[in-house]
């Protein structure tokens, strides 16, 4: 299949970017990233600079791949990372526009690669359990309700890819932050530090220059792990609790 590509090229963080047109002969069985690999081989053979894009596991669990495909972070399929998108979704002759995540807190490194270390710094501000929990406990030694454990697991599915920021009209990181906060504060090991966690993670989120949530729900629609926007309401509740409740 003949695919026309319009890809964002930007040689460095400070350089001006632009869209560049390419053509690729793709196979319907290829993954989207394999199609980009083919493009890069073409470019290298022609002595040109390959398109830089982030990728690692290519099985939808690491959160490295990050590109806005035809206006959709991670592409048009719901609950799917870009690496799990396949060319069979497209037709011969289709034109595909690819651009990077766009947010002040995610500066472009090169082409489609953005620097997402802002997420690491937010995570370092409180997205962990610092009490010594030892090795994995035997099953059912700490009773956790079915509902809480299911919910915590749903929020723990966040792979930190940043699609929520990319999709949000305000480039808000609140779905990411809320997933971490909700996941940890729902579980007994995480409850101990819940107040400091939410305060510090929200402060870190603001310091990085992300926008705020205005309840569009675009993050939920873009999340490759289909994390519910309910997490944000839980984050707000945790924040209120941290501010109002006495120790």
């Amino acid at each position: 299949m003949d695919i026309k590509l319009k890809i964002w090229r930007q040689s460095g963080p400070k350089q001006a970017g632009f869209f560049e047109d390419h053509r690729v002969e793709a196979d319907p069985h290829m993954s989207f990233l394999e199609m980009l690999d083919v493009l890069n081989e073409q470019l290298l053979e022609a002595g040109k600079d390959a398109v830089a894009f982030d990728h690692d596991c290519r099985e939808g669990i690491c959160g490295a791949c990050s590109m806005v495909i035809d206006g959709n972070p991670h592409g048009p399929r719901a609950g799917t990372t870009a690496c799990q998108l396949h060319m069979r979704e497209y037709h011969d002759g289709d034109e595909i526009v690819i651009e990077p995540w766009r947010a002040a807190a995610f500066p472009i490194v090169k082409d489609l690669v953005v620097d997402r270390s802002a997420f690491d710094r937010i995570q370092h501000a409180g997205g962990y359990v610092s009490v010594g929990t030892g090795s994995a406990p035997d099953a059912n030694t700490i009773p956790i309700g079915k509902r809480e454990s299911d919910q915590a697991f749903d929020y723990a599915a966040c792979i930190g890819c940043g699609a929520c920021v990319a999709a949000c009209p305000n480039a808000s990181a609140m779905l990411f932050v809320s997933s971490k906060v909700a996941h940890l504060s729902l579980l007994p090991q995480g409850k101990v530090e819940r107040k400091a966690r939410v305060r510090n993670m929200v402060a870190a989120m603001d310091a990085e220059g992300f926008g705020g949530c205005t309840n569009h729900g675009e993050c939920e629609a873009a999340c490759p792990k289909s994390i519910s926007v309910d997490a944000i309401a839980l984050l707000n509740r945790e924040y209120l609790y941290a501010g109002l409740a006495r120790d």
């Binding site: 806005v68 766009r102 305060r199 603001d206 705020g212 309401a233 509740r237």
Partner: protein, 246 residues
Amino acid sequence: MSSATPTSARPFDRLVKALTSTISLKIVMALTGLVGVGFVLFHMAGNLQVFLGRDAYNDYAEFMQGLGPLKWIARGGLLTALALHVATAVVLIQRNQRARPERYAGLKQKQTSLAAMYMAELGMVLLAFIIYHIAHFTVGVVSTDFGGVNYYELQQATEEATRRDLYAHFIVSFQQPGIAITYILANLALAAHLAHGVTSTFKTAGIAVGRWKLPFEVAGPAIGVIVGLGNISMPLAIWAGFIGAT
């Protein structure tokens, strides 16, 4: 880009940071918005008494005007809430715009609503309308003279004395197509603003989750429709000659 180190900051700085965090400011938007919602519902209920006729409406107006200090406390509170709502919105919108300096060639919207996308614009329309509306009915500096009569100062004769005939000002104002259309458009903006705003308020409060999600997602549009229809029914009824024909 600085990484946050809230624990090392001084207590006062920490307090300021906490009170101006994105979530704290959203809570301010929610609380001041709720004051507005309460007012709008009360204002509509009061004004719907225009359907009961001149005496009932002027009785209500006289009662409200006669509240003395309470009236000024309420006005002060409402204006403070409005000022806070607008100022906080400006701060949050600036932050949101700074967060995405470079636009996408095209970003598909999948889940949002028109009301959500245009909250700020709707808010600006409402602010302009509120200023006009207060100048019109409360202060009486615009749209008061019709056919050589100042309706703002018009008196109604009662058994003992005379009192202001606000009913007449109400009716004659909405008989003007320009005023009625402005009012109807502003109320459509209000309905949309409430539809998204009320639901958002309860998400910000962390209440609209789980089994409470659906009720609050319905509550916003429902209050928007009730307020919109309630308010617009008045100029329409006046136009149709259903009230104020005599």
